[in-house]
Symmetry: C2
Subunit: 367 residues, 2 copies
């Protein structure tokens, strides 16, 4: 890629983002954990072997009495959304939810976050304080603690107000086995609610558009919803278990289709979606029609996709609908043994079309 | 701080950075781990309790057989250095070393890093590839794996080329107890080598200055040096142990004095430094004199300060000097029962002066 230059679409979450990762990052950083390309890395912590202990310190009583009952999940995202405040949230809320959600999509219980700020000289202090308040409030709601951080300041015109990076650490219970590579033919595709709300809220705020129904971001921490899904599969007495949830993913940049396509590629399966069953709010549908956008490619920040074994689909769907963030959950398709990575959409008229990854940059700086 | 605006000096690592943390971040994010204000957060992972296990999964054989023999360290830093390439390194090398070093200063063995890129539209792809190559090479040298990442692209003029955030996870062996709050009167202050090299290399590169002796950044991963320090205290047969190392810190932004002052404040002790014993290279000394800078406030990226019990100081110093990154190590002062947070410098003429935290921004975007 030597003679190219970075384009906005390299940050879209679509085709060019995929190429950038495949051609620049993955070959250079390659290792067994990164190569899985899941939203969160799942780590086996085996760094300190008993035989490394010095001779004076061999008593077992000096080791912690309880070990790590599960694997560690680790993830990061930077947030550059513009404007920094929008209906339904702000960059601070987004920075906590986004990373909590990536951990939750790895099947982890999010525990700890870091926060790294890059601030443009001249940012009003009260704007920063508002963002930090929002992060603190959202962290409390998501039951995570922000435990370490960093602040950098760059000159005017060297950044745009404020960028935030959060990284997160969580624990994956031993029974949970979700991974982007676990989808199997026959799995049911569930989505936790209406699509496109975040992206359309940002876009209309940015462009100063007004619609009769107000658009608001769906930005929310989804770890509670994930916990409710797993809880619905425990102690059922009929052999269901957490491992029946094969994949979880939050359809952020690139929207539903990009997320589904990534899962299909990673699992080497096909997916068929039923367009008429995909929940989309009236305001989002109207705004998308007006602006010529496809809501299936618009970003979400408070929705998840679950690919589950067919036998547990109704149970999981019911659990999602009982949760405050899953009221509009729906079954929208199934995994097939079709061509690996191919996503087919059955239209309302019964025709089928092949859905591709987003190619241009639909909305820059959406998250 | 409501009516203020962010100034460059809020990112200096000095007085205003300290105020920003104390007044904006700490009160809002407050929790027992963050409040320790160490370079890396040390976490107790107890998230998944045995009683949470579902009934079908109670066999112990389904739990991992080896637990977590130590505590987890977690840290983050964003890197905004300008220019992105400089004598002795680049932003990629810095982004790996800085976070590896923060983990090592927490007494941890660094294991895993995340990498978050914020890229300005138009960045030449080969420049990005060079930076990513450098990160991969440095990670290999430091024995850490980059396991998760994120890329955002912002428009021209909304960032300056590329900013990188890395977060890191490591394990703290149970015998290690370093913390910024552990300094005790009588402790010896050791430094691992010459001071000011990184800051002066960046500054002279940025300003196009030429000196007869070339200046190069000291940017290096220090986990091997920390390991050598701890190894020198094991199995000594005379009662020394890792716990005799009370504090470790890398004097980055704000330089030696700022780092020492932070330790003195956190530990509620005084520190007295002997100016003539502080190692400073001839080229750095000459450049600082020419530019009117104090090398004790200039940033380092490959040096550490260790505050150790007096009985082990010679042993630790010898171990540092045997290591490739500690050849110029020196004992430069001692911890006193003087006024909490006060750092006194004995000048070469025998006078004493009180050293304060950096107040302005000496060199913006140094790391």
């Amino acid at each position: 890629m030597g003679n190219e230059r970075i384009r906005l679409a390299h940050g879209s979450g679509g085709r060019l983002s995929h190429d950038l990762i495949e051609q620049v990052f993955a070959p250079r950083f390659s290792n067994a954990i990164l190569d899985r390309m899941d939203d969160a890395a799942v780590l086996e912590i085996t760094g300190y072997r008993p035989e490394d202990r010095p001779e004076g310190f061999t008593s077992d009583s000096q080791l912690p009495t309880s070990g790590l009952p599960g694997k560690l999940a680790f993830t990061t995202d930077s947030y550059v959304v513009s404007p920094t405040t929008f209906p339904g949230g702000d960059i601070g809320k987004l920075a906590v939810c986004g990373t909590v959600n990536d951990l939750a999509m790895g099947g982890a219980r999010p525990l700890y976050l870091s926060a790294g700020f890059i601030i443009e000289e001249g940012l009003p202090m009260d704007e920063l304080e508002g963002i930090v308040d929002s992060m603190a409030r959202t962290a409390k709601q998501a039951h995570v603690a922000i435990v370490t951080g960093d602040t950098k300041v760059v000159g005017r015109g060297q950044a745009d107000r404020v960028f935030i990076n959060t990284a997160g650490v969580g624990i994956v219970p031993p029974e949970v086995t979700v991974s982007g590579r676990n989808a199997r033919p026959g799995d049911i595709v569930l989505v936790s609610g209406t699509l496109g709300d975040h992206g359309m809220a940002i876009l209309t705020q940015r462009e100063g558009l007004q619609f009769t129904s107000p658009l608001a971001s769906d930005c929310a921490p989804l770890n509670g919803l994930v916990e409710a899904i797993f809880a619905s599969l425990r102690s059922t007495g009929d052999g269901c278990c957490e491992a029946d949830v094969h994949c979880l993913r939050d359809p952020t940049r690139g929207g539903l289709v990009t997320a589904i396509k990534e899962l299909a590629l990673a699992s080497e399966v096909g997916v068929e979606l039923d367009e008429s069953s995909i929940p989309i709010g009236d305001a989002v549908r109207a705004a998308c029609e007006l602006l010529g956008l496809d809501p299936l490619y618009v970003a979400n920040e408070g929705k998840l996709i679950a690919l589950v074994a067919p036998g547990v689909a109704q149970r999981v769907l019911a659990a999602m609908r009982r949760h405050p963030y899953g009221g509009d959950a729906a079954a929208i398709g199934e995994v097939t043994s079709g061509r690996a990575g191919q996503v087919v959409i059955r239209t309302e008229l019964g025709a089928k079309r092949i859905a591709n990854m987003l190619t241009g940059e639909q909305l820059p700086r959406i998250c």
